[in-house]
Amino acid sequence: MESRILSVRGMTCAACAQRIEKVVTRLPGVQQASVNLASEKLFVQYDEGATLDAIKEAVRKIGYEVAERAECTTVSIPIGGMTCAACAQRIEKVLRRLEGVVEATVNFATEKATVTYDPQTVRQSAIKAAIEKLGYQPLEIAKKDAAEEDRARKQKQIRSQWMKFIVAAAFALPLLYIAMAPMISFVRLPFPGWLDPMQFPLVYGLTELLLVIPILCVGNRFYTVGFKALIQRSPNMDSLIAIGTTAAFVYSTWNVFQIAGGNFAAVDALYFESAGVIIALILLGKTLEAISKGKTGEAIKKLMGLAPKTAIILQNGTEQEIPIEEVEIGDIIVVKPGGKIPVDGTVIEGHTAIDESMLTGESMPVDKKAGDPVYAASLNTTGTIRFRAERIGSDTALAQIIKLVEDAQGSKAPIAKLADVVSGYFVPIVCLIALVAGVAWYVGTQDISFALTIFISVLVIACPCALGLATPTAIMVGTGKGAEYGILIKGGEALETAHKIDTIVFDKTGTITEGRPTVTDLLTAKGVPADELLRLAASAEMGSEHPLGQAIVQSARQKGIELEQAGGFDSITGQGIRAEIGGKTVLAGNRKLMDEQSIDLAELEGHSDRLAEEGKTPMFVAVDGKLAGIIAVADVVKQSSKAAIEALHKMGIQVAMITGDNRRTADAIAKQVGIDRVLAEVLPQDKSDEVKKLQAEGRKVAMVGDGINDAPALAQADIGIAIGSGTDVAMESADIVLMKNDLMDVPTAIELSKQTIRNIKENLFWAFGYNVIGIPIAAGVLHLFGGPLLNPIFAAAAMSLSSVSVLTNALRLKRFKPHRERRAAQ
């Protein structure tokens, strides 16, 4: 199975997107096709029964341009030392033979090599080395970034749209004036005598015709795409505009001929201004759409701008500043105070504090020393460090976040799919209504001009272009806003499901609590020294990865106790461990382990209950079948836990906690922070079953965990939220990733989801509202009872206004602030 993302150009509304999906899905071998109108991307999944070329051809055939999202990179390398065209040819030949180079062109005149290559297969340094080997000098490299290309293209698109609108407006305004001025009786507007329609009807008609032609030229896309779609029986928004304005233009042109032939009354049946002004107004709407779309994608641009352009590497003992593209894995990178971390890696020397706020939103700089990870685009504040580059280019956490946000913005929420389905039927139905209304009025009035006006008005007011924007724009802004706060929402579906959540289950350790338990109490059985108890337990736990075990080991080390290597280590899931220490069999674990091994706990049982009630986890230690003592371990509750749960309660969400810990400890923690429901003593493999049980109660359940140990439960939940982790595993298993270790981000994420969904619903209302109200008026229903008609020009204005309303409303989401910030502001 292969997956590809293709860029599709030329879509104008949801009907276009749906059409492409339909056509591609029908191709043999294609399993899935999904189009996002706002980001102009087609995601397609196909098996060996389909080819990418066939898919692209199918899309092109229905009138859209398609390009595969560049996996390859293109660089332009200036080359010194070439003396003739033969040199250029030689370099070209050698470069093309390099594995991973897709295309290489060397221009002797410009002294540049343009190389398209797969960065996964060949490095730039290898390309440069190949050129150097031939005896030429590769100079500084200019890189064309796919994202940069995309941005430049979007800017060009906006400029082009503006130009089209300006041209259209420049001709539409005089056209409108000429058409309207003679009709305004209450004020005498200046009007040239030679254009008087009653005196010079042919001049009048021809002038209007000449003014409308340039407008139709700049709006030619509506006709090329619209009629093609109509012919292929998949009419879209462009089809409506094309049919309406063409009808107006053709009928008016016919009447110009009538006037030339002596039928001067035809001057009253000219509708050039309708066609021209409709096109101009819709072009205005499209221009504003293009600008707004650019704004909705600002989050991505911001993230992309974070990465520095150069890095200082240590090469042969000396510091060298190189372009970031040339950094390779394993390079030792030096970052001085105030410098930005260029790539991901691990500190090998130095000590500093790093401001990771641009990635995670966490405002406090994080201390870093040898062995700690550092991330691209974070800011080094105090000390100089050296670190080893481990992840570069598209592998950095920043690049992954950008990709995650990009993919989220390109994804479709179920509500959007519904809008697509509706709009797919909407256009043909509207065409039918327009036809029926036109014919009915003609039959009733015998006035073809009146019937034509009705026909055009219905087509124009019913354009569903705003419908296609309603959901993707809100999702783009919402996910972008989330990224600003370190909340990465993986898709429209996650966004839509999150707002329906009525139950949240928190994992205890590392989520509600800090996840760094420490030993708080050491209670020994009679005759067992405390240090010996600790020594044996810590030695046994050395092989364990459990945080409780690690806490015991840490405590022993802190006390300077020498630990012994354990033999025969055995981890018993959900109970504890068994190990052989110096010939003694040591058991460390919970009550269940002790009961199963028939260890008598009577001596210290009362203490264990007390410790549990204090919120501590008592670990029983038995040596050679006898209870040796209890080591209590406590994990501090996070500062934000109680506030976060309170905030969730205010939203009407029930909060549960799931833990492998004993019930008493769990209850104690739950009481501290206000948990409604405690699911204690749950084995790790049973966590997902507990989530399932809650779902079986008819609840919509979100699970919050660290993403590493809770993957099955996160996957089972309706929404999986990974907290305090930017790791690959978290990003893979969770629907929402919270970059900071702050539980308050959970209610923030839910709040953001609710506001985004509300925004989508508002947008759909605006999009549909204009259509639903406008169609009957345009069809003349009110006119039957003496009410008003809808002039085609006003219909076009209303239709453009609906697109602008939707986009403006979506941009309101940019003002979203988490609850805590709003309170702080107050």
Partner: protein, 222 residues
Amino acid sequence: MRKHIMRRMIAAGIVAVLLLAASACSLDVIGNGSVTAFEQVLNAMTDRVDYDEAGASWSLSAPDGSARFVWSGNWSASEFDAMLAVDAEPFLSAGLNPNLLSEGCVYQDGILMVGRNLGNDGTEADSPLSAYRLIVQNSRSAVSYHMAMDHFGVNVGFGMFEWAKDMAANDKDIVFVLDPEPLLAAGVDPNAVEGWVFGEVEVHQNGKQVKVEKFLKPFDLT
């Protein structure tokens, strides 16, 4: 995109200018059409067309002789270059006081004249048609098209002389039209004027069809 669109527009503009330049004279469909239709009227009424040498003007008389349309062949030689001269008797009987007539209306020797000066061009026309063409060429605004009746017309001040665009399709081939305002102001009872119809006529004003009252004397020549 810009170059592409600009090229198309420039091409369209050049074509338009060429077309306009080439067909400039034929774009005045009303002016040219009125000449053609007037010629048809003249041909149908050759025995009713006269030339007045003293006034250097032509006249077209109604079949019953009660009204004439007079147009000058030399505007420098006449005060009224286009006028209607009608039998004043019906109006006098209806209460007309000639002393109360306003400028543009003249009563003389039993004839009521309404007319206007179109200019002082000294060009001499040698035929009734060429004299009419002078009006189209030099005072185009005096010529108009009456959509409701499918008539061309010459504005003579407080009246119009109208003729059918297509005599075969029209039952009112020529119409003498008088504005009622100066006559009513001069004491005429509009309902007492014999031989004239006082009624509403649809005219095009400000992009709309409106009804106005006129004195009308239509004739069917075919």
